[in-house]
Protein backbone atom coordinates (compact mmCIF):
# COMPACT_ATOMS: atom_id res chain seq x y z
CA UNK A 1 0.00 0.00 0.00
CA UNK A 2 1.54 3.23 -1.13
CA UNK A 3 -0.21 6.45 -0.06
CA UNK A 4 1.74 8.33 -2.74
CA UNK A 5 -0.55 6.86 -5.39
CA UNK A 6 -3.48 8.93 -6.48
CA UNK A 7 -6.03 6.53 -5.00
CA UNK A 8 -5.42 3.58 -2.71
CA UNK A 9 -8.30 1.56 -1.30
CA UNK A 10 -7.75 -1.51 0.86
CA UNK A 11 -10.52 -3.80 2.13
CA UNK A 12 -12.93 -0.88 2.05
CA UNK A 13 -16.55 -1.53 2.91
CA UNK A 14 -19.33 1.06 2.82
CA UNK A 15 -22.68 0.25 4.35
CA UNK A 16 -25.99 2.06 4.61
CA UNK A 17 -28.98 0.85 6.62
CA UNK A 18 -27.41 -2.58 7.06
CA UNK A 19 -26.81 -3.06 3.33
CA UNK A 20 -23.33 -3.31 1.91
CA UNK A 21 -23.06 -0.79 -0.87
CA UNK A 22 -19.39 -1.20 -1.65
CA UNK A 23 -16.89 -3.91 -0.75
CA UNK A 24 -13.49 -3.46 -2.40
CA UNK A 25 -10.58 -5.71 -1.53
CA UNK A 26 -7.88 -3.60 -3.15
CA UNK A 27 -7.84 -0.78 -5.69
CA UNK A 28 -4.94 1.40 -6.71
CA UNK A 29 -5.02 4.20 -9.28
CA UNK A 30 -1.74 5.84 -10.18
CA UNK A 31 -1.39 9.50 -11.09
CA UNK A 32 -2.35 10.28 -14.65
CA UNK A 33 -4.40 7.14 -15.22
CA UNK A 34 -7.68 7.24 -17.09
CA UNK A 35 -10.18 4.88 -15.52
CA UNK A 36 -13.78 4.15 -16.41
CA UNK A 37 -16.14 2.60 -13.90
CA UNK A 38 -19.04 0.64 -15.32
CA UNK A 39 -21.79 -1.43 -13.82
CA UNK A 40 -25.55 -1.61 -13.61
CA UNK A 41 -27.63 0.74 -11.48
CA UNK A 42 -27.01 0.14 -7.79
CA UNK A 43 -23.68 -1.58 -8.40
CA UNK A 44 -21.92 0.98 -6.20
CA UNK A 45 -20.48 3.32 -8.84
CA UNK A 46 -21.86 6.51 -7.30
CA UNK A 47 -21.01 5.24 -3.82
CA UNK A 48 -17.42 4.78 -4.95
CA UNK A 49 -17.31 8.34 -6.34
CA UNK A 50 -18.85 9.72 -3.15
CA UNK A 51 -16.24 7.85 -1.15
CA UNK A 52 -13.43 9.25 -3.29
CA UNK A 53 -14.74 12.82 -3.01
CA UNK A 54 -14.90 12.63 0.77
CA UNK A 55 -18.70 12.78 1.01
CA UNK A 56 -18.85 9.28 2.48
CA UNK A 57 -16.68 7.66 5.12
CA UNK A 58 -16.13 3.91 4.79
CA UNK A 59 -17.39 1.74 7.62
CA UNK A 60 -14.25 -0.31 7.41
CA UNK A 61 -10.87 -0.29 5.67
CA UNK A 62 -8.20 2.09 4.46
CA UNK A 63 -8.79 4.77 1.84
CA UNK A 64 -6.21 7.27 0.62
CA UNK A 65 -7.05 9.86 -2.02
CA UNK A 66 -4.34 12.33 -3.05
CA UNK A 67 -2.55 11.63 0.20
CA UNK A 68 -5.55 12.32 2.40
CA UNK A 69 -6.64 9.55 4.70
CA UNK A 70 -10.36 9.16 4.13
CA UNK A 71 -10.94 6.22 6.47
CA UNK A 72 -12.18 8.63 9.12
CA UNK A 73 -14.24 11.81 8.61
CA UNK A 74 -11.91 14.58 7.51
CA UNK A 75 -11.85 17.84 9.44
CA UNK A 76 -13.45 20.66 7.43
CA UNK A 77 -10.15 22.32 6.54
CA UNK A 78 -8.60 19.11 5.21
CA UNK A 79 -11.79 18.22 3.36
CA UNK A 80 -11.66 21.58 1.61
CA UNK A 81 -7.99 21.05 0.83
CA UNK A 82 -8.92 17.72 -0.79
CA UNK A 83 -11.76 19.24 -2.79
CA UNK A 84 -9.50 21.99 -4.14
CA UNK A 85 -7.47 19.26 -5.88
CA UNK A 86 -10.54 17.27 -6.85
CA UNK A 87 -12.60 18.30 -9.87
CA UNK A 88 -16.13 16.97 -10.22
CA UNK A 89 -18.43 16.80 -13.21
CA UNK A 90 -21.83 15.47 -12.27
CA UNK A 91 -24.93 14.82 -14.31
CA UNK A 92 -27.56 17.51 -14.48
CA UNK A 93 -27.13 21.13 -13.44
CA UNK A 94 -24.04 21.15 -11.29
CA UNK A 95 -23.72 24.93 -11.62
CA UNK A 96 -25.06 28.01 -9.89
CA UNK A 97 -28.19 28.54 -11.97
CA UNK A 98 -28.49 32.27 -11.45
CA UNK A 99 -24.88 33.16 -12.25
CA UNK A 100 -23.46 33.71 -15.71
CA UNK A 101 -21.35 31.08 -17.44
CA UNK A 102 -18.23 33.16 -16.76
CA UNK A 103 -19.04 33.48 -13.05
CA UNK A 104 -19.57 29.74 -12.88
CA UNK A 105 -16.16 29.16 -14.42
CA UNK A 106 -14.65 31.57 -11.90
CA UNK A 107 -16.07 29.42 -9.09
CA UNK A 108 -13.31 27.00 -10.03
CA UNK A 109 -10.80 29.47 -8.61
CA UNK A 110 -12.46 29.75 -5.19
CA UNK A 111 -10.22 27.11 -3.67
CA UNK A 112 -7.14 29.18 -4.47
CA UNK A 113 -8.53 32.69 -4.17
CA UNK A 114 -9.77 33.67 -0.73
CA UNK A 115 -10.76 36.90 0.96
CA UNK A 116 -13.27 39.60 0.16
CA UNK A 117 -12.75 39.49 -3.61
CA UNK A 118 -14.16 35.98 -3.74
CA UNK A 119 -17.15 37.09 -1.67
CA UNK A 120 -18.44 39.86 -3.89
CA UNK A 121 -17.37 38.11 -7.12
CA UNK A 122 -14.95 40.94 -7.91
CA UNK A 123 -12.25 38.79 -9.41
CA UNK A 124 -8.75 39.92 -10.25
CA UNK A 125 -7.93 40.55 -13.92
CA UNK A 126 -5.64 37.51 -14.36
CA UNK A 127 -8.37 35.20 -13.01
CA UNK A 128 -10.90 36.78 -15.37
CA UNK A 129 -8.55 36.29 -18.28
CA UNK A 130 -8.02 32.65 -17.33
CA UNK A 131 -11.75 32.08 -17.02
CA UNK A 132 -12.23 33.66 -20.43
CA UNK A 133 -9.68 31.40 -22.03
CA UNK A 134 -11.20 28.37 -20.27
CA UNK A 135 -14.57 29.26 -21.79
CA UNK A 136 -12.89 29.76 -25.15
CA UNK A 137 -11.31 26.31 -24.87
CA UNK A 138 -14.76 24.73 -24.61
CA UNK A 139 -16.11 27.01 -27.34
CA UNK A 140 -18.51 28.95 -25.14
CA UNK A 141 -16.92 32.38 -25.10
CA UNK A 142 -19.96 33.93 -26.89
CA UNK A 143 -22.17 32.68 -24.03
CA UNK A 144 -19.96 34.11 -21.26
CA UNK A 145 -22.68 36.45 -20.00
CA UNK A 146 -25.55 33.97 -20.36
CA UNK A 147 -27.01 32.67 -17.14
CA UNK A 148 -26.34 28.99 -16.45
CA UNK A 149 -30.03 28.06 -16.38
CA UNK A 150 -30.49 29.50 -19.88
CA UNK A 151 -27.83 27.19 -21.35
CA UNK A 152 -28.59 23.85 -22.98
CA UNK A 153 -27.64 20.59 -21.28
CA UNK A 154 -24.51 20.16 -23.38
CA UNK A 155 -23.45 23.75 -22.83
CA UNK A 156 -23.87 23.32 -19.08
CA UNK A 157 -21.53 20.33 -19.06
CA UNK A 158 -19.05 22.36 -21.12
CA UNK A 159 -19.21 25.15 -18.54
CA UNK A 160 -18.54 22.55 -15.84
CA UNK A 161 -15.51 21.40 -17.83
CA UNK A 162 -14.32 24.99 -18.21
CA UNK A 163 -14.62 25.22 -14.43
CA UNK A 164 -12.30 22.19 -14.24
CA UNK A 165 -9.81 23.99 -16.46
CA UNK A 166 -9.97 26.91 -14.07
CA UNK A 167 -9.64 24.69 -11.01
CA UNK A 168 -6.74 22.60 -12.37
CA UNK A 169 -7.45 19.62 -10.13
CA UNK A 170 -5.14 16.64 -9.83
CA UNK A 171 -8.01 14.18 -9.89
CA UNK A 172 -11.21 14.48 -11.90
CA UNK A 173 -14.31 12.50 -10.99
CA UNK A 174 -17.01 12.48 -13.65
CA UNK A 175 -20.36 10.87 -12.80
CA UNK A 176 -22.18 10.11 -16.04
CA UNK A 177 -21.13 13.43 -17.57
CA UNK A 178 -23.03 12.69 -20.77
CA UNK A 179 -26.34 11.58 -19.26
CA UNK A 180 -29.28 13.11 -21.15
CA UNK A 181 -27.08 14.57 -23.90
CA UNK A 182 -27.59 13.99 -27.61
CA UNK A 183 -24.90 11.99 -29.49
CA UNK A 184 -23.02 14.97 -30.92
CA UNK A 185 -22.97 16.79 -27.57
CA UNK A 186 -21.86 13.53 -25.92
CA UNK A 187 -18.88 13.20 -28.24
CA UNK A 188 -17.97 16.87 -27.79
CA UNK A 189 -18.21 16.73 -23.99
CA UNK A 190 -16.10 13.55 -23.89
CA UNK A 191 -13.45 15.11 -26.10
CA UNK A 192 -13.30 18.24 -23.91
CA UNK A 193 -13.28 16.20 -20.73
CA UNK A 194 -10.29 14.25 -22.00
CA UNK A 195 -8.53 17.49 -22.89
CA UNK A 196 -9.26 18.96 -19.47
CA UNK A 197 -7.85 15.83 -17.86
CA UNK A 198 -4.61 15.96 -19.86
CA UNK A 199 -2.59 16.69 -16.72
CA UNK A 200 -4.83 14.90 -14.23
CA UNK A 201 -6.13 11.53 -13.24
CA UNK A 202 -9.59 10.94 -14.71
CA UNK A 203 -12.20 8.62 -13.27
CA UNK A 204 -15.44 8.42 -15.20
CA UNK A 205 -18.65 6.58 -14.45
CA UNK A 206 -20.26 5.86 -17.76
CA UNK A 207 -22.99 3.69 -19.21
CA UNK A 208 -22.27 3.88 -22.90
CA UNK A 209 -19.71 1.19 -23.92
CA UNK A 210 -18.88 3.03 -27.14
CA UNK A 211 -17.46 5.94 -25.10
CA UNK A 212 -15.06 3.75 -23.15
CA UNK A 213 -12.09 3.99 -25.56
CA UNK A 214 -12.51 7.77 -25.61
CA UNK A 215 -12.29 8.24 -21.85
CA UNK A 216 -10.33 5.35 -20.42
CA UNK A 217 -7.31 3.12 -20.67
CA UNK A 218 -8.50 0.96 -17.83
CA UNK A 219 -12.01 -0.28 -17.12
CA UNK A 220 -13.29 -1.34 -13.73
CA UNK A 221 -16.53 -3.30 -13.71
CA UNK A 222 -18.53 -3.12 -10.49
CA UNK A 223 -21.18 -5.66 -9.59
CA UNK A 224 -23.07 -5.79 -6.30
CA UNK A 225 -20.51 -3.44 -4.77
CA UNK A 226 -17.56 -5.67 -5.68
CA UNK A 227 -14.98 -5.33 -8.42
CA UNK A 228 -16.01 -7.82 -11.10
CA UNK A 229 -13.08 -7.06 -13.37
CA UNK A 230 -10.27 -4.54 -13.62
CA UNK A 231 -8.78 -4.69 -17.10
CA UNK A 232 -7.05 -2.56 -19.71
CA UNK A 233 -9.52 -1.30 -22.28
CA UNK A 234 -8.23 -3.69 -24.97
CA UNK A 235 -9.19 -6.69 -22.87
CA UNK A 236 -12.79 -5.62 -22.38
CA UNK A 237 -15.03 -7.35 -24.89
CA UNK A 238 -18.76 -7.64 -25.41
CA UNK A 239 -18.98 -10.86 -23.43
CA UNK A 240 -17.46 -9.23 -20.35
CA UNK A 241 -19.87 -6.30 -20.62
CA UNK A 242 -22.83 -8.61 -21.06
CA UNK A 243 -21.81 -10.63 -18.00
CA UNK A 244 -21.40 -7.46 -15.99
CA UNK A 245 -24.78 -6.07 -16.87
CA UNK A 246 -26.70 -9.33 -16.53
CA UNK A 247 -28.57 -9.27 -13.23
CA UNK A 248 -28.17 -12.14 -10.76
CA UNK A 249 -31.87 -12.97 -10.73
CA UNK A 250 -31.83 -13.55 -14.47
CA UNK A 251 -35.00 -12.60 -16.32
CA UNK A 252 -35.77 -11.56 -19.87
CA UNK A 253 -33.89 -8.27 -19.39
CA UNK A 254 -31.48 -7.74 -22.29
CA UNK A 255 -28.72 -5.39 -21.21
CA UNK A 256 -26.83 -5.20 -24.48
CA UNK A 257 -29.73 -3.85 -26.48
CA UNK A 258 -28.98 -0.38 -27.78
CA UNK A 259 -31.06 2.17 -25.90
CA UNK A 260 -33.28 3.46 -28.76
CA UNK A 261 -34.42 -0.03 -29.71
CA UNK A 262 -35.31 -0.74 -26.12
CA UNK A 263 -37.48 2.33 -26.11
CA UNK A 264 -39.11 1.17 -29.33
CA UNK A 265 -39.87 -2.24 -27.85
CA UNK A 266 -41.52 -0.61 -24.88
CA UNK A 267 -43.69 1.46 -27.16
CA UNK A 268 -44.63 -1.61 -29.20
CA UNK A 269 -45.51 -3.53 -26.05
CA UNK A 270 -47.65 -0.70 -24.85
CA UNK A 271 -49.70 -0.74 -28.03
CA UNK A 272 -49.99 -4.50 -28.54
Amino acid sequence: MNPADCITLESVRCTAAGRTLLDIERLTVRHGERVAIIGHNGAGKSTLLRLLSGFLTPAHGQAYVLGHDLSRPLPAVELRALRVELGQVLQGLHLVARLSALDNVLIGSLGRVTGWRSWIRCHAAPELARAGSALEAVGLLPCAATRADRLSGGERQKVAIARLLMQEPKLILADEPTAALDPSATAEVCRLLRQAAAEATLITVIHTPSLLPLLAERVIGLKEGKIAFDLPIAAVDDQKLADLYRPETGNEFEPRQPAPRQGLIHVQEAFS
Binding site: S53, R80, A81, L82, R83, V84, E85, L86, G87, Q88, G92, L93, H94, L95, V96, A97, R98, L99, D103, N104, I107, G108, L110, G111, T114, S118, W119, I120, R121, R163, Q167
Partner: protein
Amino acid sequence: MLAPALGSRALDRFGGRLGFIGLTVLYLLLIAACLGSLAREGELSFGRNPVANLLKTAEEFARPSFLDAWFGNTHLEYRSDDGTVLRTENRQTVERDYLAGLGRATWTTIRIATLGSLLGALLGLPLAILTARNLAAPRPLAWLAKGVLDVARSIHTLVFGLVLVGIVGLGPTAGILAIGLHSMGSYGKLFAEAIESLDMAAINAVRSVGAGPAQVFFNAVWPSVLPQFVSSHLYIWEFNIRDSTILGLIGAGGLGLLITEATSLFQWERLSTVLLVVIALVVSFDALSRRIRMALA
Protein backbone atom coordinates in the same frame (compact mmCIF):
# COMPACT_ATOMS: atom_id res chain seq x y z
CA MET B 1 -54.44 -8.55 -11.99
CA LEU B 2 -55.56 -5.82 -14.34
CA ALA B 3 -59.19 -5.58 -13.25
CA PRO B 4 -58.63 -4.71 -9.55
CA ALA B 5 -56.00 -2.13 -10.48
CA LEU B 6 -58.40 -0.57 -12.96
CA GLY B 7 -61.18 -0.71 -10.38
CA SER B 8 -59.19 1.01 -7.68
CA ARG B 9 -58.03 3.63 -10.16
CA ALA B 10 -61.61 4.31 -11.19
CA LEU B 11 -62.54 4.54 -7.52
CA ASP B 12 -59.69 6.95 -6.89
CA ARG B 13 -60.86 9.13 -9.72
CA PHE B 14 -64.46 8.85 -8.67
CA GLY B 15 -63.50 9.50 -5.04
CA GLY B 16 -61.56 12.62 -5.97
CA ARG B 17 -64.49 13.90 -7.97
CA LEU B 18 -66.90 13.06 -5.16
CA GLY B 19 -64.73 15.05 -2.78
CA PHE B 20 -64.77 18.04 -5.11
CA ILE B 21 -68.55 17.85 -5.50
CA GLY B 22 -68.91 17.60 -1.73
CA LEU B 23 -66.75 20.69 -1.18
CA THR B 24 -68.70 22.61 -3.84
CA VAL B 25 -71.99 21.70 -2.15
CA LEU B 26 -70.58 22.80 1.22
CA TYR B 27 -69.47 26.09 -0.30
CA LEU B 28 -72.90 26.72 -1.86
CA LEU B 29 -74.55 25.88 1.48
CA LEU B 30 -72.32 28.39 3.25
CA ILE B 31 -73.25 31.10 0.75
CA ALA B 32 -76.95 30.27 1.12
CA ALA B 33 -76.61 30.42 4.90
CA CYS B 34 -74.90 33.82 4.76
CA LEU B 35 -77.44 35.31 2.35
CA GLY B 36 -80.46 33.70 4.05
CA SER B 37 -79.59 34.79 7.58
CA LEU B 38 -78.80 38.34 6.47
CA ALA B 39 -82.12 38.49 4.62
CA ARG B 40 -84.00 37.21 7.67
CA GLU B 41 -82.43 39.86 9.85
CA GLY B 42 -83.47 42.45 7.28
CA GLU B 43 -79.85 43.52 6.70
CA LEU B 44 -79.86 43.10 2.95
CA SER B 45 -81.40 46.47 2.14
CA PHE B 46 -79.73 49.08 -0.05
CA GLY B 47 -81.23 52.01 1.83
CA ARG B 48 -84.17 54.20 0.81
CA ASN B 49 -83.20 55.50 -2.59
CA PRO B 50 -79.88 53.99 -3.61
CA VAL B 51 -80.07 55.11 -7.24
CA ALA B 52 -80.50 58.79 -6.46
CA ASN B 53 -77.77 58.63 -3.80
CA LEU B 54 -75.45 56.85 -6.17
CA LEU B 55 -75.98 59.46 -8.87
CA LYS B 56 -75.45 62.30 -6.39
CA THR B 57 -72.25 60.79 -5.01
CA ALA B 58 -70.97 60.01 -8.47
CA GLU B 59 -71.65 63.58 -9.55
CA GLU B 60 -69.73 64.97 -6.60
CA PHE B 61 -66.89 62.54 -7.13
CA ALA B 62 -66.72 63.57 -10.78
CA ARG B 63 -65.72 67.09 -9.69
CA PRO B 64 -62.46 66.71 -7.77
CA SER B 65 -61.92 69.82 -5.66
CA PHE B 66 -58.83 71.03 -7.49
CA LEU B 67 -60.56 70.93 -10.87
CA ASP B 68 -63.60 72.72 -9.48
CA ALA B 69 -61.53 75.50 -7.94
CA TRP B 70 -59.80 76.25 -11.24
CA PHE B 71 -62.46 75.53 -13.84
CA GLY B 72 -65.69 75.91 -11.82
CA ASN B 73 -66.53 79.09 -9.96
CA THR B 74 -63.26 80.41 -8.69
CA HIS B 75 -64.64 82.73 -6.00
CA LEU B 76 -67.00 81.78 -3.22
CA GLU B 77 -69.14 84.65 -1.85
CA TYR B 78 -70.39 84.54 1.70
CA ARG B 79 -73.66 86.50 1.96
CA SER B 80 -75.81 87.53 4.87
CA ASP B 81 -79.53 86.83 4.91
CA ASP B 82 -80.42 90.10 3.14
CA GLY B 83 -78.03 89.38 0.28
CA THR B 84 -75.08 91.67 1.08
CA VAL B 85 -71.74 90.11 0.36
CA LEU B 86 -69.88 89.57 3.65
CA ARG B 87 -66.59 88.39 2.14
CA THR B 88 -65.33 86.73 -0.98
CA GLU B 89 -63.09 83.76 -0.74
CA ASN B 90 -60.57 82.99 -3.43
CA ARG B 91 -61.10 79.26 -3.76
CA GLN B 92 -57.83 78.85 -5.65
CA THR B 93 -55.80 80.09 -2.68
CA VAL B 94 -57.68 77.79 -0.34
CA GLU B 95 -57.24 74.88 -2.70
CA ARG B 96 -53.55 75.64 -3.13
CA ASP B 97 -53.08 75.39 0.62
CA TYR B 98 -55.04 72.17 0.64
CA LEU B 99 -52.94 70.69 -2.15
CA ALA B 100 -49.76 71.63 -0.30
CA GLY B 101 -51.15 69.82 2.74
CA LEU B 102 -52.01 66.90 0.52
CA GLY B 103 -48.44 66.77 -0.73
CA ARG B 104 -47.11 66.72 2.82
CA ALA B 105 -49.60 64.01 3.75
CA THR B 106 -48.52 61.92 0.75
CA TRP B 107 -44.90 62.23 1.82
CA THR B 108 -45.89 61.16 5.34
CA THR B 109 -47.70 58.13 3.95
CA ILE B 110 -44.68 57.18 1.85
CA ARG B 111 -42.42 57.59 4.87
CA ILE B 112 -44.68 55.42 7.05
CA ALA B 113 -44.90 52.70 4.40
CA THR B 114 -41.18 52.72 3.60
CA LEU B 115 -39.87 52.69 7.15
CA GLY B 116 -42.60 50.30 8.28
CA SER B 117 -41.74 47.86 5.49
CA LEU B 118 -38.05 48.04 6.31
CA LEU B 119 -38.83 47.40 9.98
CA GLY B 120 -41.05 44.47 9.03
CA ALA B 121 -38.35 43.00 6.80
CA LEU B 122 -35.69 43.34 9.49
CA LEU B 123 -37.96 41.72 12.08
CA GLY B 124 -39.14 39.04 9.67
CA LEU B 125 -35.74 37.83 8.47
CA PRO B 126 -34.51 36.22 11.71
CA LEU B 127 -37.92 34.66 12.27
CA ALA B 128 -37.86 33.33 8.69
CA ILE B 129 -34.44 31.79 9.30
CA LEU B 130 -35.85 30.10 12.40
CA THR B 131 -38.95 28.79 10.61
CA ALA B 132 -37.37 27.68 7.32
CA ARG B 133 -37.59 23.90 7.44
CA ASN B 134 -34.35 23.20 5.56
CA LEU B 135 -32.26 25.19 8.05
CA ALA B 136 -33.57 22.93 10.86
CA ALA B 137 -33.50 25.41 13.74
CA PRO B 138 -34.20 23.92 17.20
CA ARG B 139 -37.83 22.79 17.26
CA PRO B 140 -39.14 24.93 20.15
CA LEU B 141 -37.54 28.05 18.66
CA ALA B 142 -39.04 27.25 15.26
CA TRP B 143 -42.50 26.84 16.76
CA LEU B 144 -42.15 30.04 18.74
CA ALA B 145 -41.05 31.96 15.63
CA LYS B 146 -43.88 30.49 13.59
CA GLY B 147 -46.33 31.44 16.33
CA VAL B 148 -45.06 35.02 16.38
CA LEU B 149 -45.36 35.25 12.59
CA ASP B 150 -48.89 33.82 12.59
CA VAL B 151 -50.04 36.23 15.30
CA ALA B 152 -48.45 39.18 13.49
CA ARG B 153 -50.11 38.17 10.23
CA SER B 154 -53.56 37.66 11.72
CA ILE B 155 -53.77 41.02 13.47
CA HIS B 156 -54.66 43.81 11.07
CA THR B 157 -52.44 46.86 10.72
CA LEU B 158 -55.30 49.05 11.92
CA VAL B 159 -55.65 47.08 15.14
CA PHE B 160 -51.92 47.27 15.74
CA GLY B 161 -52.18 50.99 15.02
CA LEU B 162 -54.99 51.55 17.51
CA VAL B 163 -53.05 49.78 20.24
CA LEU B 164 -49.80 51.56 19.39
CA VAL B 165 -51.40 55.01 19.30
CA GLY B 166 -52.29 54.36 22.93
CA ILE B 167 -48.67 53.46 23.66
CA VAL B 168 -46.51 55.83 21.61
CA GLY B 169 -49.09 58.54 20.99
CA LEU B 170 -50.54 59.99 17.78
CA GLY B 171 -48.28 60.39 14.78
CA PRO B 172 -46.28 58.53 12.18
CA THR B 173 -44.29 56.48 14.73
CA ALA B 174 -47.41 54.53 15.61
CA GLY B 175 -48.05 53.98 11.90
CA ILE B 176 -44.50 52.79 11.22
CA LEU B 177 -44.60 50.36 14.13
CA ALA B 178 -48.05 49.10 13.14
CA ILE B 179 -47.00 48.47 9.54
CA GLY B 180 -43.74 46.89 10.68
CA LEU B 181 -45.41 44.50 13.13
CA HIS B 182 -48.13 43.37 10.75
CA SER B 183 -45.94 42.96 7.67
CA MET B 184 -43.33 41.13 9.75
CA GLY B 185 -45.71 38.18 9.49
CA SER B 186 -45.90 38.34 5.70
CA TYR B 187 -42.16 38.94 5.35
CA GLY B 188 -41.34 36.01 7.61
CA LYS B 189 -43.51 33.69 5.58
CA LEU B 190 -42.21 34.83 2.16
CA PHE B 191 -38.57 34.87 3.28
CA ALA B 192 -38.89 31.40 4.77
CA GLU B 193 -40.32 30.15 1.46
CA ALA B 194 -37.40 31.74 -0.40
CA ILE B 195 -34.94 30.02 1.92
CA GLU B 196 -36.77 26.70 1.59
CA SER B 197 -36.52 26.81 -2.20
CA LEU B 198 -32.74 27.24 -2.01
CA ASP B 199 -30.86 25.80 -4.97
CA MET B 200 -28.98 22.90 -3.36
CA ALA B 201 -27.30 21.99 -6.67
CA ALA B 202 -25.67 25.42 -6.72
CA ILE B 203 -24.48 25.07 -3.14
CA ASN B 204 -23.00 21.65 -3.84
CA ALA B 205 -21.37 22.95 -7.00
CA VAL B 206 -19.56 25.69 -5.12
CA ARG B 207 -18.75 23.43 -2.19
CA SER B 208 -17.28 20.78 -4.50
CA VAL B 209 -14.36 23.00 -5.52
CA GLY B 210 -13.27 23.39 -1.92
CA ALA B 211 -14.86 26.77 -1.21
CA GLY B 212 -15.17 27.88 2.39
CA PRO B 213 -18.48 28.63 4.15
CA ALA B 214 -18.34 32.36 3.42
CA GLN B 215 -17.56 31.69 -0.25
CA VAL B 216 -20.45 29.21 -0.46
CA PHE B 217 -22.76 31.78 1.09
CA PHE B 218 -21.78 34.63 -1.21
CA ASN B 219 -21.46 32.60 -4.42
CA ALA B 220 -24.40 30.21 -4.14
CA VAL B 221 -26.82 31.12 -1.33
CA TRP B 222 -26.86 34.87 -1.84
CA PRO B 223 -27.47 34.89 -5.62
CA SER B 224 -30.26 32.37 -5.23
CA VAL B 225 -32.02 34.06 -2.31
CA LEU B 226 -31.44 37.77 -2.97
CA PRO B 227 -33.79 38.19 -5.97
CA GLN B 228 -36.61 36.52 -4.08
CA PHE B 229 -35.97 38.67 -1.03
CA VAL B 230 -35.98 41.85 -3.11
CA SER B 231 -39.10 40.74 -4.94
CA SER B 232 -41.01 40.01 -1.72
CA HIS B 233 -39.79 43.26 -0.23
CA LEU B 234 -41.09 45.28 -3.16
CA TYR B 235 -44.37 43.38 -3.13
CA ILE B 236 -45.07 44.02 0.56
CA TRP B 237 -43.77 47.58 0.38
CA GLU B 238 -46.28 48.26 -2.36
CA PHE B 239 -49.01 46.61 -0.27
CA ASN B 240 -48.00 48.78 2.69
CA ILE B 241 -48.32 51.97 0.66
CA ARG B 242 -51.96 51.05 0.13
CA ASP B 243 -52.31 50.04 3.75
CA SER B 244 -50.75 53.18 5.20
CA THR B 245 -53.25 55.42 3.39
CA ILE B 246 -55.82 53.96 5.78
CA LEU B 247 -53.67 54.36 8.90
CA GLY B 248 -54.44 58.08 9.07
CA LEU B 249 -57.95 57.08 10.15
CA ILE B 250 -56.60 56.24 13.58
CA GLY B 251 -54.41 59.30 13.87
CA ALA B 252 -51.16 58.05 12.45
CA GLY B 253 -51.12 60.95 9.99
CA GLY B 254 -50.74 60.91 6.25
CA LEU B 255 -53.36 60.60 3.55
CA GLY B 256 -55.73 58.69 5.82
CA LEU B 257 -56.16 61.77 8.00
CA LEU B 258 -57.31 63.78 4.97
CA ILE B 259 -59.67 60.95 3.98
CA THR B 260 -61.24 61.02 7.46
CA GLU B 261 -61.55 64.80 7.34
CA ALA B 262 -63.17 64.80 3.93
CA THR B 263 -65.65 62.04 4.77
CA SER B 264 -66.67 63.48 8.11
CA LEU B 265 -67.28 66.91 6.50
CA PHE B 266 -69.06 65.29 3.51
CA GLN B 267 -66.55 66.98 1.17
CA TRP B 268 -66.77 64.38 -1.55
CA GLU B 269 -64.90 66.64 -4.00
CA ARG B 270 -61.92 66.72 -1.67
CA LEU B 271 -62.17 62.98 -1.04
CA SER B 272 -62.09 62.54 -4.79
CA THR B 273 -58.86 64.58 -4.98
CA VAL B 274 -57.25 62.54 -2.20
CA LEU B 275 -58.29 59.25 -3.79
CA LEU B 276 -56.82 60.36 -7.13
CA VAL B 277 -53.50 60.90 -5.36
CA VAL B 278 -53.74 57.49 -3.68
CA ILE B 279 -54.47 55.79 -7.00
CA ALA B 280 -51.60 57.61 -8.73
CA LEU B 281 -49.25 56.65 -5.91
CA VAL B 282 -50.19 53.00 -5.87
CA VAL B 283 -50.25 52.59 -9.64
CA SER B 284 -46.87 54.25 -10.15
CA PHE B 285 -45.25 52.26 -7.36
CA ASP B 286 -46.77 49.09 -8.76
CA ALA B 287 -45.37 49.82 -12.23
CA LEU B 288 -41.95 50.59 -10.80
CA SER B 289 -41.76 47.52 -8.57
CA ARG B 290 -42.97 45.28 -11.38
CA ARG B 291 -40.18 46.58 -13.60
CA ILE B 292 -37.61 45.84 -10.94
CA ARG B 293 -39.04 42.39 -10.19
CA MET B 294 -39.08 41.49 -13.89
CA ALA B 295 -35.47 42.57 -14.23
CA LEU B 296 -34.51 40.40 -11.26
CA ALA B 297 -36.35 37.24 -12.30
